[in-house]
């Protein structure tokens, strides 16, 4: 009986496979079922009386917990003569330890648990994060709170961070990519603009421990913080823990965005000579836009057509057709609270520098001159819309999106709106924004 069934099964499998191999459907004849409905889990938003915003995002897949506090205020708010202050702060906040424990003692404690507490810095924010196995959460969180409230910024670690910064300055002309990145920003924003200015030996040396202490006091306050936590926890219990930890924390000064002028790039050809390379790195730069610009959606579609990904015009024409570059791409940059940087870049062998620049101009002229045809427009929109799911396919990504919108005062459903607005973009709009 059993043998019969097995042989029947075998026969069936054989038949099936013969049948199957005769029926290989070519890719363009395939039809697809609709994507199953997927509602990403939204984090719970809580605002405390002291202004701190908390997002809870339980995720029980793995026995891990991670949390990040985004703190308003970053390097664009530091004084020009102390450029690098926030970068040093983002490092020494953690390495300098707390009043109770040195940074080294924290390292020993955390690494023995494969846990992390780290701090970092950016243009408009700093952050302090933790990541641990759930069983270690209480102990790690206690240390996290200690570092949040009582950092000590020990002098030896400030010196260590300064030495690292000096090394960075000494080595910043070794690689073409770091030169072109730095100079592009200076040309697009202006060399004294806070988004482009560079650390120098003197500005690093000017930073004192008191500056870090003062920065912490001024910015790291509950009303400047958006705190997000995800992982394997009970949301009610966690909410109670966080309320206990943060509710009593008094408000401090409110961080303000600095008033920054953006003049735009001065047109011209700018050259940096580097004699030990056989390739030119070319960047065409300008100011980009803010994401709350109504053109943002048409710009997204244009970027996809022009320089985003394997099917863009730059990739097709400059790389595949002309074989001029391995690395080529770019588009109009966008940022949440200031104009992003528009950058079109390529690297090509020294002797084809001129033809490389011409190839980029050709593509720009084409983008200016003619609206994309319906096939190209559809392809670009399909690329954005069909891959949309990857913007929220993990609870952690959803949490980060929401925290970002909260931070920049964007509507929390910005991502959902984005999808709708992309669908509406027309070919004429794309040509308009290209101009």
């Amino acid at each position: 009986m059993r043998a019969t069934r097995v042989s029947f099964m075998l026969l069936f499998v054989v038949l099936l496979s013969v049948f199957a191999s005769a029926q290989l459907t070519p890719w363009n004849k395939l039809t697809f079922p609709p994507l199953p409905a997927f509602q990403p889990q939204e984090p719970t938003r809580i605002q405390l009386a002291n202004g701190m915003v908390i997002f809870l995002q339980p995720d029980h897949e793995l026995p891990l917990i991670s949390a990040t506090a985004m703190v308003r205020g970053g390097s664009i708010s530091e004084p020009a003569e102390k450029t690098g202050l926030v970068s040093l702060y983002g490092d020494v906040w953690r390495t300098g330890g707390t009043k109770a424990k040195t940074g080294d003692q924290m390292d020993d404690f955390l690494e023995a648990r494969a846990a992390k507490i780290e701090t970092s810095d950016g243009a408009d924010s700093t952050s302090i994060s933790l990541n641990c196995l759930k069983g270690d959460f209480d102990a790690v969180f206690e240390m996290y709170l200690d570092l949040l409230h009582n950092p000590d910024f020990r002098a030896d670690k400030l010196e260590l961070a300064k030495r690292q910064a000096y090394t960075g300055i000494a080595r910043r002309n070794d690689e073409v990519s770091s030169i072109v990145g730095r100079e592009s920003a200076r040309l697009a924003y202006g060399k004294d603009n806070p988004f482009a200015r560079e650390e120098e030996y003197a500005t690093i040396a000017a930073v004192k421990r008191e500056d870090l202490v003062a920065w912490h006091k001024q910015y790291t306050n509950p009303n400047n913080i958006i705190f997000g936590i995800s992982g394997d926890f009970d949301p009610k219990e966690m909410e109670a823990k966080l309320r206990k930890a943060f509710e009593e924390w008094p408000k401090g000064p409110q961080a303000k965005d600095p008033d920054i002028k953006f003049a735009g790039a001065k047109p011209g050809y700018y050259f940096v000579l580097k004699s030990d390379v056989n390739q030119s790195s070319i960047a065409m730069v300008d100011l980009g836009i803010r994401r709350d610009n109504p053109d943002y959606f048409a710009v997204s579609v244009m970027n996809e057509i022009f320089g985003g990904g394997f099917s863009s015009r730059l990739f097709n024409n400059v790389r595949a057709t002309k074989g001029l570059a391995y690395s080529v791409g770019g588009g109009v940059g966008s940022s949440f609270n200031h104009p992003g940087m528009t950058r079109i870049q390529m690297q090509t062998k020294s002797e084809s520098t001129v033809s490389g620049i011409q190839a980029l101009y050709e593509e720009i002229d084409l983008m200016h001159g003619k609206a994309p045809d319906s096939i190209e427009l559809k392809r670009a929109k399909d690329q954005i819309l069909n891959s949309f799911i990857f913007r929220f396919d993990t609870p952690g990504k959803v949490l980060r999106e929401k925290m970002t919108y909260e931070f920049y005062h964007y509507p929390l459903d910005f991502l959902e709106r984005y999808r709708g607005e992309i669908e509406k973009v027309t070919a004429d709009q794309v040509q308009q924004v290209a101009r």
Binding site: A20, W27, P36, E111, G309, N316, A320, D382
Partner: protein
């Protein structure tokens, strides 16, 4: 088989004292389906229904180590060509294009035969042959639909499309919405069943630009090429994966096609799929499409073994760049029973701010901006290097790096590591494994690599048993065996002259 898997789970349970983890791993086992198709292709499907998406990783057990003599860079070139389409993808008329492509090969062979003549090369004839070759390329190009393969993937929601070539293997990867699984199977099987070498010579120029970017114009890239060329004599690890310029300028589409037929055979490939995929419906789809790959013998293994090094080797590069120091020691392949011991040494020497290299060279001696020791250089499949590097602070020298690194090695050879250090390594290895389970793409890559390297993906978890067995004495024993003077290759960049600080000059 069942027995040993259960044992792994129990061991993990005991080791981690975290019942939840063990539950996850047990459920992990239940969610994996493995099948070897009649043509020899191994397929792994892991169901992870967190969101309606999936990722895949196709691993070809062939890398630049298999590049033929005088054709370095060919494995990497083949990887680029795998994006150029098939008779059904990337052409307006394959029948005519095929004829045109054959003419390109004929014309190139004639041109190349003249170009490589050592004597009596006729410049006029060469120019004529070059023109004929270029004309043939132009004729074939008329049929090309540019990057249609990438366009299909991206317009159907594919993200993260990429591929890479190492000395050991070639990998292909991206992610898609889960309703596109049949499209994925159709185009991915087509790409490896019927690749077309179109636009080969333009892509060769692209790869030359890649070489200029990664190697020629990058001080570290220049040093690594020289360093590996010195450390290895017999094993192909001495050659660059990207290829030497003269080889890149010489090999043909026919060479790439031959390479493909020899190495891209189903028995030499593993595909892992991870995501919202029901193996009951997905495996038949995979079998249907990938069943078309022709059965071919698995390529022969590389038999050359790097002979023992009996002398210190050194490569000192005078360069405009800031100084950097590296030294490497030969160690056996990943199959060596001490593999986990090397990982313990890497962890203790280099992992984070508690590591010995950081604490000694960076924190205490204040001579380096960064310093670490690591295994797996430049690959792991064959006997390779355990390497240490130091990046001197301004005003400090490579000689100081060497001395400080030697002191740390000496300590490893003469004193046991502490209980805390050893335990830290074990705890971190387990936690890293758990953290790695959160990503479809990361999991697909791990499963494919372990299935290829050990013949069983479960080794990804069994490895923890080996980690748990590492003792302090093992670390001393291995350090004494490997970190010897005559087994050392030293590499350094010594700065010759300060470049003028560049700033953009110009305007209008």
């Amino acid at each position: 088989m069942k027995h040993s898997v259960a044992r792994v789970v129990v061991l993990l349970l005991m080791a981690m004292t975290l019942p939840l983890v063990a539950q996850d791993l047990a459920s992990f086992e239940n969610r994996v389906t493995v099948r070897t198709l009649p043509n020899g292709l191994t397929v792994i499907i892991l169901r992870r229904p967190e969101a309606p998406v999936f990722s895949f990783f196709t691993m070809v057990d062939t890398g630049s180590s298999q590049d033929p003599l005088s054709k370095t860079g060919l494995a990497h070139m083949m990887e680029h060509m795998a994006f150029k389409g098939t008779p059904d993808i990337g052409t307006t008329n394959y029948a005519e294009e095929k004829v045109a492509l054959a003419k390109v090969e004929q014309a190139y062979a004639a041109y190349e035969a003249e170009r490589i003549k050592r004597m009596d090369r006729d410049p006029q004839k060469l120019a004529q042959l070059q023109k004929e070759w270029q004309d043939a390329i132009a004729a074939a190009d008329k049929f090309v639909i540019k990057n249609q393969f990438g366009e299909i993937v991206e317009s159907h929601g594919g993200v993260g499309m990429n591929a890479f070539t190492t000395y050991d293997e070639t990998g292909y990867l991206y992610s898609m919405p889960s309703n596109m699984i049949e499209l994925w199977a159709a185009i991915e099987s087509d790409r490896f069943a019927n690749p077309v070498m179109r636009e080969f010579y333009k892509e060769r120029n692209v790869v030359m630009e890649e070489r200029r970017m990664r190697t020629d114009s990058d001080p570290t890239g220049r040093l690594v090429e020289q360093f590996l060329g010195t450390a290895f004599a017999a094993n192909p690890y001495h050659r660059p994966t990207i290829g030497y310029p003269s080889d890149l300028q010489s090999f043909s589409a026919t060479d790439a096609e031959n390479f493909f037929h020899r190495y891209y055979v189903p028995s030499n490939m593993v595909i892992a799929l991870v995501g919202d995929l029901d193996p009951n419906t997905v495996m038949p789809i995979v079998e249907k499409y990938f069943g078309q790959l022709p059965t071919n013998p698995k390529p022969t293994e590389l038999t050359t073994v790097e002979p023992p090094q009996n002398s210190v080797r050194e490569v000192k590069m005078n360069d405009m760049a800031q100084p950097i120091y590296v030294e490497g020691y030969h160690r056996p392949s990943y199959l060596d029973p001490d593999d986990a011991v090397y990982d313990a040494i890497t962890d203790i020497m280099s992992n984070g701010r508690t590591s010995r290299m950081y604490r000694s060279l960076v924190r205490d001696q204040k001579i380096a901006a960064a310093a670490a020791g690591f295994s797996g250089f430049p690959g792991t499949k064959y006997a390779h290097l355990f390497a240490f590097y130091g990046v001197p602070l301004p005003g400090h020298t490579n000689a100081e790096m060497q001395k400080a690194i030697q002191e740390q090695i000496q300590k490893l050879k003469t004193e046991d590591v502490s209980d805390e250090e050893l335990q830290m390594f074990k705890t971190r290895t387990k936690a890293d494994l758990i953290r790695g389970l959160a990503s479809n793409q990361g999991l697909a890559q791990q499963l494919a690599i372990y299935q290829t390297r050990y013949g069983d993906w479960r080794e990804l978890f069994r490895y923890l048993e080996k980690v748990d067995k590492v003792q302090k004495a093992d670390i001393r024993r291995v350090a004494n065996k490997v970190f010897t003077d005559s087994n050392r290759t030293v590499g350094s960049i010594e700065t010759v002259s300060e470049p003028a600080a560049p700033a953009a000059k110009g305007g209008n």
